[in-house]
């Protein structure tokens, strides 16, 4: 590489870093004060892009029209943020953290469909910035003038946010609330207003980040989850709550990506190494590296312990007769049901195991995973590839697939158990995204975006009803096994470690070792769910490993309720069934699902099963 090309890649990277920084700074600010991991933050970014596109069309492609549209779009997105805060989040600030997360997932679904309804499914390519569409020549290379403006905007916004936070009363309140919001309230500060204002500022930053991208990137419906993954990585690498850290991390990641594209394919010792293919993965590698060396990010500090966290309730030993009766009932269904129902039930059974395995790790083991689809997807791909590429019999592929998923969990888990809380959750997301990128790009083996086809079960299992019984037996056994483990010494040790890591260590428990083992265990069982699912569908696509699949799992668990054992099963059944019913009737199934989830969140803040139990308890009390 010449000096000139290094400089160009550097500038490219810095330009890309600008938007990344804006989005991440907003996310970090909102998380700091409200302690809500706002998954809908990426949706706000997406709205910024769409908004800017439409406003530019409206105002005309003049410099004033362009910049006016960018600013107006950002402010409008700020108002959307306020709307989300006031209508949804404000009502559930006292609900468990995970439930707030569920609410933001629902908002993601709703906004996606609003965008689909308003702007359609086609990508919208915005204009170049009027007056800045020329290129500037630097060391003989041409670089778009607009990129230079972006490079300047990053530090300017950083400076403005910094001034806002350190030189104004609002900034002092925000920083104080980041540490202890109850105390801020007791000093006479209206928290609701403060939160709303923080949401506004954070959302404006997201919207601005999106709007500024309009000359560089077409507006499309996949941006919400794509950018949220990037923003998570940036905030975590920089350190949660640190605006300066977000800036630093955005630059590191932006530049690293630019260099990967710039370097292209290089031959080292006779091996072709494609750096451009690394772009999708490089940020996650940086994140994994940073978190292992600096668990709280580059400029982050350990998060202040949240006061008054409700202790987890005691787990009720499941009634095995109850479980057996249900299994028997489920076994009888195909006798009455049509083929379609049987297939839907097979899906439900697979997702139930997926959801139970996720619950195991996030509930009793206390490690929330945002990337559980990694193991589901790896299990599915392993099953398909072992059969198609290695010529193994279907039965062997099905049984080996969980082991492959477990192997990946050994590697990923080793990193993950070094962290806790939000950092851990985001690292799991990173690993899922790495897995997705590999699957997506490794065309020759995984079939890339097309996936793997013709993954059908052996003839003796080909009948849908027979396959349903296989799924029921395997997944049912997996669920019962996980439940049983929860009440074993191993399971108790995990629960003990979740309740008090300090005490666990003080009585000789190697907590990390136990958590690692748990990671591998649930990874393998999620892999089993994925493998069974793959053979039931006959094909595997990268979506089985996507963020959307991971969030589906989270929704299932949270919908049913994380505090009960049966919750995740009920959640999986209702979610899968509802999605099927709704998707058959409307193009906008996401909005309907999102709306239903929001209703549930607002009405039953303990999840469906937890909420029903509370209702039953109240009813009994009244009768007594």
């Amino acid at each position: 590489m010449t000096l000139a090309s290094i400089l160009i890649q550097l500038l490219n990277g810095l330009a890309a870093a600008a938007s990344l920084f804006l989005v991440s700074a907003g996310l970090s600010l909102i998380f700091g004060v409200t302690r809500i991991v706002n998954f809908a933050h990426g949706s706000l970014y997406m709205l910024g892009l769409y908004g800017a596109y439409s406003l530019i069309e409206f105002f005309g492609r003049t410099p004033l029209g362009f910049w006016g549209a960018v600013v107006l779009a950002a402010l409008a997105v700020g108002l959307v943020g306020v709307l989300i805060e006031v209508l949804v989040l404000r009502r559930i600030y006292r609900a468990p953290e995970l439930f707030q997360l569920l609410a933001t997932f629902a908002v993601v679904l709703v906004i996606k469909d609003i965008a689909l309804f308003t702007w359609g499914a086609e990508d919208l390519v915005g204009p170049r910035a009027p007056g800045l569409s020329m290129a500037v020549e630097i060391m003989g290379r041409r670089i778009p003038a607009y990129d230079l403006v972006l490079i300047a905007i990053g530090p300017v916004v950083l400076g403005l946010v910094w001034l806002l936070l350190t030189r104004t009363r609002w900034g002092a309140l925000v920083r104080a609330a980041t540490q202890d919001r109850e105390m801020v309230g007791a000093l006479g500060v209206d928290q609701a207003k403060l939160f709303t204002s923080v949401f506004f500022v954070g959302s404006v930053l997201a919207g601005l980040g999106g709007a500024l991208q309009i000359p560089r990137e077409p507006a499309n419906l996949e941006l919400d989850l794509a950018i949220i993954a990037d923003a998570f990585v940036v905030t975590v690498v920089g350190g949660l709550g640190s605006i300066g850290g977000a800036f630093l991390a955005a630059i590191i990641i932006g530049v690293a990506k630019a260099f990967c594209i710039g370097i292209g394919t290089v031959t080292w010792f006779g091996f072709e190494v494609s750096f451009s293919k690394l772009t999708l993965v490089v940020e996650f590698l940086i994140m994994a590296l940073v978190l292992v060396v600096r668990p709280y990010g580059l400029l982050g500090k350990p998060q202040a312990a949240q006061r008054a966290a409700e202790p987890a309730p005691r787990l009720q030993v499941p009634s095995w007769t109850f479980a057996l009766v249900w299994l028997a009932l489920l076994a009888l269904v195909p006798l009455f049901a049509d083929r379609y129902t049987t297939i839907l039930l097979t899906d439900i059974v697979c997702f139930a195991l997926f959801s139970v395995s996720l619950h195991f790790i996030m509930g009793p083991a206390g490690m929330v995973s945002f990337g559980h689809a990694a193991y589901f997807g790896i299990g599915a791909y392993a099953a398909g590839l072992l059969m198609k590429r290695f010529g193994l019999p279907m039965e062997a592929a099905l049984l080996l697939a969980p082991l492959v998923a477990g192997l990946f969990a050994i590697v990923y888990g080793w990193f993950c158990v070094r962290l806790s809380g939000v950092y851990l959750a985001m690292l799991t997301l990173a690993f899922a995204q790495i897995s997705w990128s590999i699957v997506f790009q490794w065309d020759s083996v995984t079939g890339g975006s097309n996936g793997v086809f013709g993954v059908w079960p052996s003839p003796w299992l080909a009948d849908k009803t027979t396959y349903y019984y296989l799924a029921l037996v395997l997944c049912g056994a997996g669920i019962v096994f996980l439940w049983r483990v929860l009440f074993s010494p191993f399971g108790y040790a995990l629960r003990a470690g979740r309740d008090s890591p300090l005490r666990a260590e003080a009585i000789g428990i190697d907590l990390r070792g136990f958590q690692w083992a748990a990671f591998v265990l649930v990874g393998a069982l999620a892999g089993l769910a994925g493998a069974v699912y793959a053979f039931s569908k006959g094909s595997i696509s990268p979506s089985s490993i996507s963020i959307a699949q991971s969030t589906d799992g989270l929704i299932m668990v949270l919908l049913g309720g994380v505090e009960t054992l049966t919750g995740p099963v009920v959640g999986a059944a209702i979610f899968t069934w509802l999605r099927d019913v709704v998707a058959r009737n409307t193009e906008f199934w996401r909005a309907v699902m999102g709306g239903v989830i929001l209703l549930i969140v607002l009405l039953f803040p303990q999840g469906l099963v937890g909420g029903l139990k509370a209702l039953v308890a109240r009813w009994r009390e009244q009768r007594a």
């Binding site: 005691r314 008090s500 428990i509």
Partner: protein, 249 residues
């Protein structure tokens, strides 16, 4: 006096150039109650955390029954026979009182790795015996998350005794308890320590507890030990009166 269980020699620790603990040496014997006192910020917690493995000293020797334990992790130190209670109680809130103690017993016996046996089947009697000793047997079935604070402290003591410790490290064992309960807890501790020949090192703010329950007292001020001796000796020490007890006592 019997032999020293814990021996500390020349302990040093600095944080970013600030000396938190400097040249601290002392020993605790089997069956002895040694109180470590000092004003806030004197370095008591730092000192304590270097003994239990949470911090590594910059220099100095910590010996448990003659064996150097510097650099060992907390769980390794526990395996060598050190029980701990915390300033802010740390118990397993979602488990029952009995299960909390059983957890320590299972861990002590190395039986936590089983995936399929049912937890709670073993060590129930042993757990109950320990709970009986601390007066918590009648609440064995209750979930720790709903216990009163003083009761949690007693559960902690039972947990700390589960590995038949040679040394008990108690960080402000009576903080947050009612005055009468405080003395009762420390009387119980002293009784158990003597009966089982356990060495006890504790920090404490409540001077009534310290002067009635400790066999010996050492006083830390700004990272340095400024006095040590029996309660009457320490009470009479003019240095101690100046930096700690003040005119009120």
């Amino acid at each position: 006096m019997s032999h020293a269980i814990l021996q500390v020699e020349g302990l040093h620790k600095a944080f970013g150039g600030v000396q938190a603990v400097a040249d601290v040496s002392f020993a605790v014997s089997a069956g002895e109650m040694l109180a470590l006192i000092g004003p806030n910020g004197a370095g008591k917690s730092t000192c304590f955390n270097m003994l239990n493995g949470q911090l590594t000293p910059d220099s100095g020797i910590v010996r448990l029954e003659g064996r150097d334990i510097v650099g060992l992790r907390p769980r390794a130190i526990w395996r060598l026979g050190v029980g701990r209670t915390f300033q802010i109680t740390a118990t397993f809130a979602s488990l029952s009182v009995r299960e909390n103690v059983q957890m320590a017993l299972y861990s002590h016996a190395g039986r936590l790795r089983s995936l399929l046996s049912r937890f709670g089947a073993a060590f129930a009697r042993e757990a109950d015996a320990l709970l009986d000793q601390v007066g918590m047997l009648d609440q064995a079935e209750r979930t720790c998350g709903v216990l009163a604070y003083g009761d949690l402290k007693r559960v902690e003591l039972a947990i700390a005794l589960a590995n038949e410790p040679r040394l008990l490290l108690m960080d402000e064992p009576t903080a947050g308890m009612a005055p009468k309960e405080r003395v009762a807890l420390m009387e119980l501790t002293a009784r158990l320590a003597r009966a089982r020949n356990i060495a006890v090192l504790f920090t404490e703010h409540d001077m009534d507890v310290v002067f009635t329950q400790a066999d010996r007292i050492i006083v830390l001020d700004r990272g340095v030990l400024i006095a040590g001796g029996t309660p009457p000796e320490v009470r009479a020490n003019p240095n101690v009166r100046a930096v700690y007890l003040g005119s009120a006592h």
